[in-house]
Symmetry: D3
Subunit: 245 residues, 6 copies
C-alpha cells in the first residue's frame, strides 16, 4: 500500500495490523552524463513500492531532496542544509508517530544523506531522553545497496566500473523504473576517477563529469530489474524484522 | 522535461533556452472517505508534468508534504511546521538560483500551504531587500484550481457538491492519475458540511469524515481528465507568461 | 480597556468576564509622499482602541513592525523576517494563553503581514495538533479595511484613487489620529500606477514614490473620522462574535 | 521627529543631517497594584519623544514586549523568549542600517531586557567580526533611570520606597504620560519586600503583589513630570554625544 | 570531585548528598602580548577545581568557548554567536536537570559572556514560566573576580595596571595554573589604554596589542597562587550558600 | 603548541608556518562502572596534545560535550541536541577560518558524534556551494581508534573484551592521563552484552551498567600509555598529510 493512493480509513485500518511504515529518502543531484537527477529518490522509491506491494507494508511519500551541497556545481542539483533536513525529518516523524506509527524505516538512496538522517534520529530521540520518558517508537535507516545480498548482485552484474557515484547499478535501477529515460552517452574516460571531495567547487574540479569511479554506460533496464528484484526481497525481510523488533 | 529523469547536461542545455522551472507543491493529508492522502501533491504534479510536456518547460521535484496540521486528526496526514517549510522552500530556491534559474513557479495543490509559501517568498526576498542588492529572480505561486478557466470547468462538471476540501474535482484528478486507486465509498451525508476550523481536534469535531462541503463520490477518471486538460493548458500559458515577465 | 494602562489586578478581573483580547498588528513602512511611516500600525491601533472603549474589550500592545521587506527601498521602512515574526507572534500568543485568554484577535493594518500571521497561527496550532491534545484557544486575524461595511465607506468617500498602498483611506485614518502630522504634498502623477512587486528594488522601480494606485492627497482628518467610526462599530461586533464563538 | 508620523521623504531628508535614531525598548508586564502593565514601554517612549522633540533627533517605534518571563505569574504580563528577541532586534537593526543609520540608541525601560539587548548587539557585531569587515555602525543601550542625574532626581523625590520593581519613579512617569490612568490603591505592606527571583512561580511566591522594594502609592503625575524633565535633558545630551562618537 | 574523572555510579552517589554542580565557563580569546588565549577558561576552571576539592562539590566540564566576537581581530580568538551559546547552555542545563541537579552554578571567566549567560538563564526559565509550572531548579552565574574579597586581593597585589582586559590578575592565575607557559614580554605602553569597543575591527583599532588598561607583565605564578587561594575560599562559600538556597 | 597556553602573537607566528589546527572533540557521558564520564573528551585531548607536542602543530580547545542523548539514563551524562552541535561547530570553524586556518582536523572520541560532525561539515560547505564560491578550507574528522594501526594495538593488548562502549582501550587511555582516577570495580557480567539502542531508556534497559561488549576492568595506565603512543604517532602523520593536502 502506498500512502499517496490510500484513503485515511485505509490507513486507519492498516494501523490495526501494523505500526510500521517505510519512507524512501533520496536526493535530487547530478548523476553523471547519462544518469538522472532524480536517481537517488527514484531508486529507494521503486524498491520500496515493489517491496511494499509484495509484503503488504505501507510506503510513505518520498523525501526527495536531501543533502547534496557537493553536487551544486552541476546544473539541476538541489540541496537542503543539514539543519533544515533535521527539522523536516523530525516533522515527518512527529506526524507519523501522532497516528500510532511506532517503527519508521527510511530506505535511503544517497550516501550524502546518511549522517544527517542519523543526526535527525538523535534529535528525535533526544527530546525523549532529555525529558526522561521512554521513547515509544524506533527509527531505522538503511541504504538500499547495503540491504543483505544486494551488493553481491550489483558486483556480479557490474564486476568492473560499478563505482561510487553515478554507479552503474543505480543508473540501471532508474532505467528499469523509467525506460523512456535511458540515455546513450559515451563515457570519457571509460571509468571515472576515484577520490574525495569537500564542497561543490572541489567536487567539480575532481570529477569533471560528475561520476566517481563508475562506468554507468553499462546500465540497462534489464540489469536494473535484477537489482530491484534482489533489493525488493531484502527490504521486505528487513522491514518486517524491524517492524517486529 | 522532468528534472527527475533529466541528466545534468540536459538541464545545462535547457538553461540556455529558459530560466524558468515549475515546482509542484502539495500536501499529504486526508481527503475524506474516498480521496487519496496524496491528493494535493498528485494534482499539481500531474498537471505540471502534462503542461511541461506540452510546453517544453522543466518540472522540478514535487514538494510533497506541506502545512496540514489541521488534518492530523485523520490517519496518514502529515505536516511540516510552517517555520520548517519556510526553511526548506528557501533551500530549494537557493539551489535553483545557484544554477541560473530566475523564474521559479510553484504550482500549489493545497490551500493550507498558501500563507506559508508566501511567507517563504518574503523570507527569500528579504535577504536581498535588507542587503540592498536587487534580487535577480522572481517567485510565483498559483493554486491549480485558480488557473484561468479551471474553476469554470470544475463547476460545469460538478455543479453541486464540488466543495472546498476533498473536492469532487481534486479527487477526480487523482482518479485520472491513478485509476487503479478509485475507491467506491458511499457518502453520508451526501454533501459534507461547510465551516471553519483551527487545530486538528477542532477540524475533526466539525468534519467527522474529513470532507468540507463536498460530495467526492461524483469523481471519475474521465471527469478528472477533463479538468487536467483545462488546467494543463492554463498552466502552460501562465508559466510561459511568468517566465517572460 | 487598554493593556498598557491597566494594572494586573484589573486584567485579572477582566479575565473573569471575558477571555478575549484584541491585538493591533501593523508595520512601519513608507506610505508615499504624504503618508506616515507608522500608518499600518496606527490604523488598527486607533480603531481597536475606540472599539475597545465602546465595547469594553481589552486591547493589547501593538505589534508594530511586520513584514515589509518590499518597502526597504524607501527610508524609514522596517521589516521582520517572516521566520522572526512567526516566533514573536507565538511568544505573544503563549504569554496571553498563559493567563487564560482563549480568543486572540489580531486586527491587522498591513497586507504584507497576512500570510505570515496565518503561518504563525498554523505554527501555534501545529504544536497541539502534533501532540494530539485539543488546542484550548482560537486565533483570528482581520484586516481593518475588510471589516463588514468599511470598504463601502471608503469607496463612498474616495470613489477615485483610494488605491492599494498608501491608500487615501489609511492616510485619512492616520490624519484623524495625528492631525498635527497632516502633510500637504502634491501627487505626481495624481494617481499612482497599479502593479505587482517582489523585493525592495523591484518595488521602488515600479512605484517611484511608494504609492500603488492611490491619490492620498484626498485624505483629511474628517474623512478619517468617518472611516474610523465605521470600522470601530464593525470591529466591536466582529470581536464580540469571535469571543463568543 | 517621530518615525511613526514622518513620511519617507522626511526620513530621507533627516538622514542627510544625522545618522542617529533612538529606539524606546520596554516590556509589557505587571507593575504592582497601581502600576500600568505598559510601564516599561511607556517610560522610555515618553522620555525619548520629549527628548527627540527638544533635540531634533528621530525616535523610532517602541519595541514594546521584552523579556519578562518572571512576571508571567501576574495577569497581562507578556514575554519574548530571549532568542526571539535577539532575532527581532537584529531585524530592526538591519532595517535601519539599510537606510544609512549608523548610530542606533536603545533607550531601555526594563532591567530584564538588559542582558538580551547586549546579547543581540553581540549577535549583530559578530556577523561583521566573523567576516572580517569593519562594522559600519554602533549600537548603544541605556536604561532611562541610569541617564546622568536621573537617579538623583528620583531619590530626592522618593527618598523612601522608590524600590526596584514597580518603582515609585516609573509609576510616576506613566501617570504623567497617562494622567487618566492614575490608580488609587493602598499598599500592603507599605513598602514591598526586597529579594531575588528566578522564574514566574518563584517571583510570585516572593513578591505576592508584584512590587519589589517599592511604595508606588507615592507616585503622582507632577512627580513624573519632574523625572521626565530630567531624563529628557540627559537623553538629549547622551544621544547627541553618541551620534557624534 | 570533577565530573570528567568521576564514574556514573559516583555521580549517582553524589546526587544523594547534593543537588549542586559548578560549571566553569570561559572564552578562548586573545589576552594581550603575554596572556594565554585560554585565560578565561583556565581561571574559572582552576578556581572551581580547587574549591571543589576543598569543599567536596562536583565540578562539571568547562564551557570553554564563549562570546568573544570583539577579539576576532587577534589570531586564535574564537567565538560563539550569542544565539548558539544560549542553545548550548540550555542543552547543558537540561542534561544536568535530567539527573536531578537543582542548583547549577556557572563560575565565569569572561565579561563578554555575562549578558548571554543571563539571556540563556531567562530562556531556560521562560519555558517553565510560559507553561505555568514552577521551575524546579535554580541557576547562578558569578564572575570569579567578583567573588567576595577577590578584587581586594587583586588590588593589593596589583595596585597599578591590573586593568580590565588581559588583566595582571587573570594572567597571574593562568601562570599559576600553567607555569611552563609564562611569557616574558615587554609591554609598550607599560599600561594599555582604557576605552570601549563594538566589533572586532573597532577593538583592534582601539587596543592594538589587545590589552585594556593593564600591565600584565607584573603577573607571576606566585601572585596567581594568592589570587586563586582567595577565590577558592570565596567560591566554596558562595556555592555552598547557593546549593542550600 | 596548545591554543589554550599560547598568546595571540604566537598564534600569528604559527599561521605563517602552518594553516592547520587539530580540535579534540568528545563527549561527557557514562562509561560504565569504572570509566570516567569525561572519557571521550580526555582520549582525543591527550592524544592530540602529545601528537601536537611531537609534531609541532597547534591543538585547539576540546569540544567537550557532544551528542550523547542515549546515555542520559546514567547520572552525569550530558548531551547537545544535534542541531545545537551543528551551530556550535560552525561557529568554531568560522572563528578559525577568520584567522587564516585552512585545514581543521577534528580528532573525535565518541561514536555518537560522527554523524553530527559530518552534518556540521556539510552545513559549513553548503554555504559556499550554494553561493557558488569555492570554499577555501578543508575539514576532517577522524576517530582516534581508527587512526592507522591503533586498533591493532588495542586488539593485541585486549584480545578479549575490548568492546564497543566503555572499552578497555579508552578507559586505559584515561587511566594513563589521570592515574589518580583509576577505579577498581568488579564487572558483572565480566563482559557486557552487545546490542543496539535508540533513546536513553532503551539504552539503559539493554545495558544496565552502561558498558557494551567490554570488560574495562582490564584497563591500566600502562596499557593506556601504549595505546596513546601508537595513536600519537598515527595522528601526527595523518594530520600532517591533511595539512599538506
Amino acid at each position: 500500500m502506498q500512502l499517496q493512493t490510500a484513503s485515511w480509513p485505509e490507513v486507519e485500518a492498516y494501523l490495526k495490523t501494523s505500526k510500521g511504515i517505510v519512507i524512501p529518502i533520496g536526493s535530487f543531484e547530478q548523476h553523471g552524463p547519462n544518469g538522472l537527477v532524480g536517481t537517488d529518490a527514484i531508486c529507494p522509491e521503486v524498491i520500496a513500492r515493489e517491496a511494499g506491494e509484495a509484503a503488504g507494508f505501507l510506503v510513505g511519500p518520498t523525501f526527495n531532496v536531501g543533502v547534496a551541497q557537493h553536487h551544486l556545481g552541476f546544473a539541476g542539483s538541489m540541496t537542503l542544509r543539514p539543519s533544515t533536513m533535521i527539522a523536516a525529518i523530525n516533522d515527518w516523524i512527529d506526524s507519523l508517530v501522532r497516528h500510532g506509527f511506532r517503527r519508521i524505516y527510511f530506505i535511503n538512496g544517497h550516501g550524502g544523506n546518511i549522517a544527517t538522517i542519523a543526526a535527525a534520529f538523535a534529535e528525535s530521540y533526544a527530546a525523549w531522553s532529555m525529558d526522561g520518558d521512554a521513547c515509544p517508537y524506533k527509527l531505522r535507516q538503511m541504504n538500499w545497496w547495503e540491504l543483505p545480498g544486494v551488493m553481491d548482485v550489483c558486483k556480479s552484474i557490474f564486476p568492473v566500473g560499478d563505482g561510487s557515484h553515478a554507479t552503474a547499478s543505480e543508473v540501471a535501477v532508474t532505467y528499469y523504473a523509467y525506460p523512456h529515460a535511458v540515455k546513450d552517452v559515451a563515457m570519457s574516460p571509460k571509468i571515472a576517477p576515484q577520490g574525495s571531495f569537500t564542497d561543490a567547487a572541489d567536487y567539480r574540479r575532481n570529477f569533471p563529469d560528475g561520476r566517481i569511479g563508475s562506468d554507468p554506460s553499462q546500465a540497462t533496464p534489464e540489469k536494473g530489474a535484477a537489482i530491484v528484484a534482489a533489493a525488493r526481497e531484502a527490504l521486505a525481510r528487513d522491514a518486517e524484522a524491524f517492524f517486529k523488533s
